[in-house]
Symmetry: C2
């Protein structure tokens, strides 16, 4: 039986453990290092559903042949401000890291850069790559298509992925702004949580097997499907992500995308899209950052709703938690601890060698 | 008293009347022609709130000096794949038309192009410019910031504009896909309509003057504020639009933006952002269009929800209505007819000379 306890770890130790687990699985040093950076950073932002919890599943994909430890992505086609990258099913977060870096090089050359990626799989949290651009004083946009789990207006069943959109922009004295959202009404974890607690859900999260809105979370995922955020608006944005990440890149589209956690040997074939804008070419960077700070401060200073202490900018809550995690360590929730313990067993790495006490 | 009747007009006659009204107001021929194309096309798509109904208000802005008939936009700065355009308060739809064309030229040169516009005003429907790119076999994105009328999570009162996002992409045998949405929960017209009918509204459209969700539409717009679509998700996307259209371009930010219909001589100073992607550089155009058609057909063929006859792609309903309008004429709703009648009186143009019977 799993121990249901939270464990506090230092980001450095957690990264070292993840790198060791990947190296043991045949992943090269650079890919392991970049992937650990993606996943551990996501944990520091407390987006635990998309952090190191996912490494166990990713490495399983290498053992089943859905991903390849010896593969390396290559540029399939490119121009001054764009490239299409064939991921060749190499380690997705590492491929995505380098693809956003490529988008930034294109932006450095031309002002804006677009990089589309095909033949990839789960890349972790979309927000990581957007933030990477912001750290380099660029505006960053990151998108991914995923296997269908959402219906569309008028349909029933799973038609479209919950295709995430993330962006980030640097500020001056204030924290950068970033947003990382699925285009579904809510994260599936909220549905599962209500299901586990036997609670009803709002009627705009799910449809039942007839395609009718339901407040009963027990139908999902076996039957029914998630609803897009804001009805036709989320539907339309999810289709935009499908166009930029898959139709335009050569990746699989809609039902052609296979779940990265599915028990199959078929490749996932997700697509990604990365856009970077080199701010300093368009406006002195100091001026841009002062303007960002001005906007942030005006929103912070807005009259507050009854009972509210503070108004947050997009990403601010997560970035504050990250500041704490970098000082005090990351408080990994029990499900993450259990996943890391399973990972250690899968690949035969001793977590205690990395100061991680994952229990038994 | 206004006649509450709908009037059927040919797009050509309507455009000729609009051009005459603009020419009479000192607008040059090209600006008048492009603006008429923007507004009349929007009417053919039945987005009547943003079509020729707005010309009367736009021309009023020229009389009050908030816009200038003798001004012409200029490129303030540019690079291989980008430009910042200073609109100089010239006719906003014409400036925006040429700015999307400039983004397309940048995309033709580099693959992707970004054009930001500052010192502008109301540009009509965001979707027009996105569709313009799609008509040229490009992916198009169009955004605009507007004066604050929306609150943000934790705040009360009007903090942020309902900043629209529109995109479009061409298909093959199928219709192009396009989406044109405000980042608010609903269009303000729906709130006003419920108010006029004395009806309650869902509790995620508005907050009252304390910042609490309300089902009473009568508070707005004097008190209270609109809510973003999908709570923090719409908030985050509206902030993204503010960054790309205003922070990065030099346009006014948040409360610095003045309503284009306000009774003031202060400039509106809205910003716009246009992004074009030249598809054919990345993938043979025929292949892209076939892939778009495949995606569209898979969505069309999805199992339908109980009681649903058809599943629509984003923009499909509007594009079908446009097909009908191009054959049978545009059925202008009474409020549009009334606005055009007022326009004819304002500028002294006889609508009957253009086969338009707007009543009295």
């Amino acid at each position: 039986m799993e121990q249901m306890k939270s464990v506090k770890v230092s980001p450095r130790d957690l990264a070292a453990f993840c790198i060791a687990a990947m190296r043991k699985s045949g992943i090269n040093e650079e890919d392991a290092r970049l992937t650990a950076e993606v996943l551990v950073t996501t944990d520091t932002l407390t987006t635990f559903t998309h952090g190191t919890r996912q490494l166990r599943g990713l490495l399983k994909n290498f053992r089943t042949g859905r991903l390849s430890a010896t593969a390396h992505e290559e540029i399939a086609a490119e121009g001054p401000a764009w490239a299409i990258v064939d991921a060749h099913y190499a380690m997705p977060p590492a491929v995505s890291y380098r693809s956003m870096e490529l988008a930034m090089r294109k932006a450095k050359a031309c002002g804006i850069g677009y990089v589309g990626v095909k033949h990839s799989s789960h890349y972790g949290a979309a927000g990581f790559y957007a933030n990477l651009a912001a750290q380099h004083d660029m505006f960053g946009l990151s998108m991914c298509n995923v296997d269908p789990c959402m219906t569309v207006p008028g349909a029933k069943g799973k038609v479209l992925g919950t295709n995430p959109i993330a962006y980030a922009a640097p500020a001056g004295a204030e924290k950068p702004i970033y947003l990382d959202i699925a285009t579904s009404a809510v994260a599936a974890t909220k549905i599962f949580s209500a299901k586990a607690l036997g609670k009803q859900i709002p009627d705009n999260w799910l449809v039942d097997e007839e395609g009718m809105p339901t407040t009963d979370p027990s139908q999902y995922p076996a039957k029914g499907a998630q609803l897009p955020m804001a009805a036709h608006k989320g539907y339309g944005l999810a289709v935009m992500v499908e166009i930029l990440t898959a139709v335009l890149t050569g990746a699989a589209i809609l039902s052609g995308v296979k779940s990265w956690v599915a028990d199959t040997t078929e490749p996932t074939d997700e697509g990604h899209a990365f856009i970077a804008i080199d701010i300093a070419q368009m406006m002195p960077l100091g001026e841009f950052k002062a303007r960002m700070d001005g906007m942030i401060r005006e929103i912070h200073a807005a009259p507050r709703a009854k009972g509210t202490d503070r108004i947050y900018l997009p990403g601010e809550i997560e970035l504050e938690k990250r500041d704490i995690a970098l000082v005090e360590g990351i408080a990994l929730p029990p499900d993450v601890v259990a996943s890391l313990r399973g990972l250690a067993e899968d690949v035969g790495v001793d977590a205690t060698q990395f100061n991680l006490n994952l229990g038994k």
